[in-house]
């Protein structure tokens, strides 16, 4: 047989290997698992937060600066709010990422929407974390 390659009708160039060469990552698997684990934790954190803030003891009507100061004087509620902030933001950002991937069809659109999403998420997580850790009840 001749060794000079004749491009015939059967020469399909390396099927299945054009875009993903070797390094398949498990990122989407971990993302799927994270949504379920964080979701279960958030059910307790967020529903507890909503019951305390909106239902118990006068609900939203009693919330003011002094109320926040009273809560964040306790490490328990600081940790609660910090965990809720991080888990909810990561859970929500990952959900938004999925939705962008589903509905934004042009690569450019997907890229910039996700950049905007990650920027907003990073800003919100950093701001919220700083607020919890640097809260000063005697401000002003």
């Amino acid at each position: 047989m001749s060794t000079t390659a004749q491009p015939g009708p059967v020469s399909i160039p390396a099927p299945r290997s054009s875009t993903r060469t070797g390094q398949r990552s498990n990122f989407e698997l971990y993302s799927w698992l994270f949504m379920r684990i964080s979701g279960i934790v958030l059910i307790f954190l967020v529903l507890g937060h909503l019951v305390i803030m909106n239902l118990l003891d006068g609900g939203v009507q009693r919330i003011n600066f002094a109320f926040v100061a009273g809560r964040w004087s306790s490490p328990f509620w600081q940790v609660w709010d910090l965990m809720m902030l991080w888990l909810a933001m990561l859970h929500g950002t990952n959900g938004m990422r999925t939705i962008i991937n589903d509905y934004a069809e042009r690569d450019q659109t997907r890229f910039w929407l996700k950049m905007l999403l990650y920027l907003a998420a990073a800003f919100t997580i950093i701001l919220g974390t700083l607020v919890i850790f640097t809260f000063d009840p005697n401000i002003g």
């Binding site: 529903l47 909106n54 609900g59 926040v68 933001m89 938004m96």
Partner: protein
């Protein structure tokens, strides 16, 4: 006639659509909520001023919507987890759909009443 193989238009599709809508809504509220809470680093007056808007009748009503959205997302998320991880989950997914609908209504009825209690009393002047 085959039953239970079509996804489109069934309960499965609508629970998924609602899961997305409630998820996106709660996400955008979360961004706003971290910003309004961050006002505690500005001054007590700034924080109290913005929180006062949460106590108005219309925003109070929106809070009921927020709680309803979060509660649905939580219950349906639990259902999704059971479908994924519980061996009998896929078989009972339809029963679980109607179960979470029932739980949602049972929790939202008193929840709505108590969340709006102050607004109802302020608007209709109940002193009883």
């Amino acid at each position: 006639m085959s039953v239970g193989t079509l996804y489109r238009g069934g309960e499965g599709m609508w629970t998924w659509v609602l899961h997305r809508i409630t998820g996106v809504s709660v996400f955008f509220f979360l961004l706003v909520h971290v910003l309004d809470t961050a006002l505690v680093r500005v001054s007590p007056e700034a924080y109290d001023l913005v929180i006062a808007s949460y106590k108005t009748p219309i925003v109070n009503l929106l809070e009921v919507g927020l709680v309803g959205a979060v509660l649905y997302h939580a219950l349906n998320g639990l259902r999704v987890i059971l479908v994924d991880f519980w061996a009998k989950g896929p078989r009972y997914q339809r029963q679980m759909t109607w179960s979470i609908a029932a739980v949602w209504i049972v929790l939202m009825l008193p929840g709505t009443y108590f969340m709006l209690l102050h607004t109802i009393q302020a608007m209709f002047g109940s002193t009883a």
